[in-house]
Symmetry: none
Subunit: 426 residues, 2 copies
């Protein structure tokens, strides 16, 4: 592996090898590979191949040999569990003519891990503290299998557990920082623009001229998920200042085109953005949820520290509970239906008063697959946001997929709340 | 490729090659590979490798050469679009010393496809009707790129578009039926056992003798996710009856060893299992949630039809709401803390009475990252299940990751509920 010339970055190539029969029978979708690929690309390292193989010695050795022909870094996940079907450590030990030795630090980590959870350390787990003597163990604070870092013939081989959150922590906290320390990687600057309330093709139409005028070293990618479209700008080169300036210019002109759809940037989530806003302005919130069944509350409370502004929720899945807990007049439900502007607004006002908060979100809709009518098809949702001075309601049609309806309702409601907080407190 | 002897299946091996830059930068998760792998396995064809590569001639040829060393069938997806970055057809044409000729049937298909949609056929699309003369074109009625079937040295090479619904139709309607017609494939039977409340290594310790006594044609895999471990048995052979009987025997003896941890089988989820139980027994449920912030309610309501048994939830994120909405005595919180058996039980009883349900779930805990003490570290959770006749409570330590604490609390609570329903109604 050669480092880059002065001033020139080294175009480093990596290969991902995912080991696991569950991937080859289609039981598990390989989200590890896409996450790793994204993180490595963000750090300036290209992925030239992803190979998925079985927990089999010959397949593993074959994959390592093939990868070494064209990659500088070989990143291996999976097969490090304590059970018999996990053979990666043993194969790597043989492959690097190494022998297993007990590592005291790793054993400590494993014992700490189990003591925290009040579990007994089994002998199988103790064996996980044995690592090949020719590797640098990478300590894993979220599980029992350490990562392993080998080097041979100017190639780096990194083996990590396949459990996603363990693997992710090891890559973010150790692997990428360590690689960046040792090699001059290209400067890559990303800026992700988060949009809501606009479809991908409509967005593309709106910004086509802007896109065509981007400098050649800036690439644009569309990343749609239900309810959101993320736009990612990536600039790659040597000079950080030039790249930053170009991204900033591109961003400024984009903002003038689509400002009404932008809710945030980069890794922010809507629930974090709202949490920060509520914290800054010392406001509180509650939700009253019908079709989302508590999903909005669970997204809001996924943010650490949300207890500072979130008081709670009433999930009123049945009309009986809407009437009893939120004082929705039965006649209102009879006259307008549970999925109506009237009921949504009554829910929002009731929960705001009852939970004594400044703001509230209420949603009522038909998540599906059943319950739709001609007038109110599956996917019909009313969202109301109540504030100290006003109430804002809107009707949406989110289509016929239950899971997506719930997600879209949540994202749309959170973004309505964000806009109203900004408007009221600007 | 040799066909199987009479009575003996041929152990056919396939490799999947997915072509596309979007997969290598992590922009798209490779759901095509898992879908194809599942379908091929169900048909009795093993996948021995999945390789993801760029839209690059050298990479494609390299992957084809590697695959031919170990697979009978090489299934290629992607790179068949009409634009310049799609080069798969051209590369395959060269690879098989073939030349492109216009195929009238394919041209008809493309014209029909566009006419139906009232679009003009562009010259780029017309070019898609040109196929290599050494392949059998596979007609695509859902898009514009035909599939291609090549054979050389007893290997089959199949190239399909990467658009999921086009690819899926071509595999289901043509590729698998055609392979099954030509080869005697084995029978493969899978059974997945779903367990909760036991770690992977503890489980492995408990069933090691059973595992060692499995017949050679049955394989065992451990598939852990937060709070759950799935065990998958796979049997492969000629005789469906023998395989089914062997899986059944293995399952029976496993059940006697770990019955208390098994909550279901195959693709079931805990929330579906509970939903079915509640429906069968005509019971209703509500939740009172502190640390899970509505997550349990959102899992329960992710099941279509859950409104038949789920009435709602009170998410009492603040103590104020616990006192006001669930009538928890303030003195109880002062004396025992909000995270205590006393408060969990009072929450469970209160929500059950208030929402007039047979069962209720209540949880109170410290999700983290802050809020822990020496006595009650982050991850301490009390779960209570109230029933018409009794209340059952348990304390857990789920570790220091907020997201996983919430997931594990939910799964554990749902499984406690399942056990209690079964016990009370057996």
């Amino acid at each position: 592996m050669k480092s880059g010339n002065a001033g020139l970055f080294y175009n480093m190539q990596a290969e991902i090898i995912n080991i696991g029969d569950e991937l080859l029978i289609g039981q598990v979708i390989n989200t590890n590979a896409s996450w790793i690929a994204e993180q490595f690309n963000l750090a300036g390292i290209s992925i030239n191949r992803i190979t998925v193989i079985a927990d089999e010695k010959e397949s593993i050795i074959n994959a390592l040999n093939n990868a070494a022909l064209q990659a500088d870094i070989i990143l291996i996940t999976g097969g490090l569990g304590p059970t018999n079907d996990d053979i990666t450590k043993k194969v790597l030990c043989d492959y690097f003519d190494s022998k297993l030795i007990l590592n005291k630090d790793v054993l400590d980590d494993i014992q700490t891990y189990f003591h925290k959870r009040k579990f007994e350390v089994t002998s199988l787990n103790q064996q996980q503290a044995e690592v090949p003597d020719k590797c640098i163990p990478i300590r894993n604070y979220n599980g029992t299998a350490p990562g392993m870092w080998f080097e041979r013939n100017n190639k780096i081989y990194i083996s990590l557990p396949g459990v996603p959150f363990e693997m992710k922590a090891l890559i973010s906290d150790y692997v990428l920082p360590e690689i960046s320390k040792r090699f001059k990687l290209p400067v890559i600057i990303h800026k992700t623009i988060l949009t809501q309330g606009v479809g991908e093709s409509f967005l593309a139409d709106k910004i086509i001229n802007w896109e065509n005028n981007l400098p050649e070293f800036i690439k644009l990618a569309y990343l749609p998920t239900p309810g959101l479209v993320r736009l990612r700008l990536s600039a790659k080169g040597n000079d950080k200042n030039i790249l930053s300036k170009s991204i900033e210019d591109a961003l400024n002109s984009l903002q003038t085109l689509i400002s009404e759809y932008i809710y945030g940037y980069d890794e922010e989530t809507l629930e974090e953005i709202i949490g920060n806003l509520l914290n800054q302005k010392k406001l509180t919130i509650a939700t009253a949820e019908s079709c989302t069944g508590g999903y909005i509350a669970s997204r809001i409370t996924s943010v650490p520290g949300s207890s500072a502004y979130f008081k709670g929720s009433i999930v009123c899945y049945s009309n009986e509970i809407k009437i009893q807990e939120l004082n929705i007049p039965e006649q209102m439900i009879i006259n307008h239906g549970a999925v109506s502007c009237e009921v949504a607004e009554a829910m929002a006002q009731s929960i705001r008063r009852k939970f004594d908060t400044q703001y509230s979100i209420a949603v009522t809709g038909i998540a599906g697959p059943d319950g739709g009518t001609n007038e109110k098809p599956v996917g019909t949702v009313w969202i109301s946001i109540a504030t100290p001075s006003t109430i804002i309601s809107e009707k949406f049609f989110f289509g016929d997929n239950r899971e997506r309806n719930i997600q879209r309702t949540c994202i749309t409601a959170l973004n309505m709340l964000r806009k109203i907080i900004l408007k009221n407190n600007s």
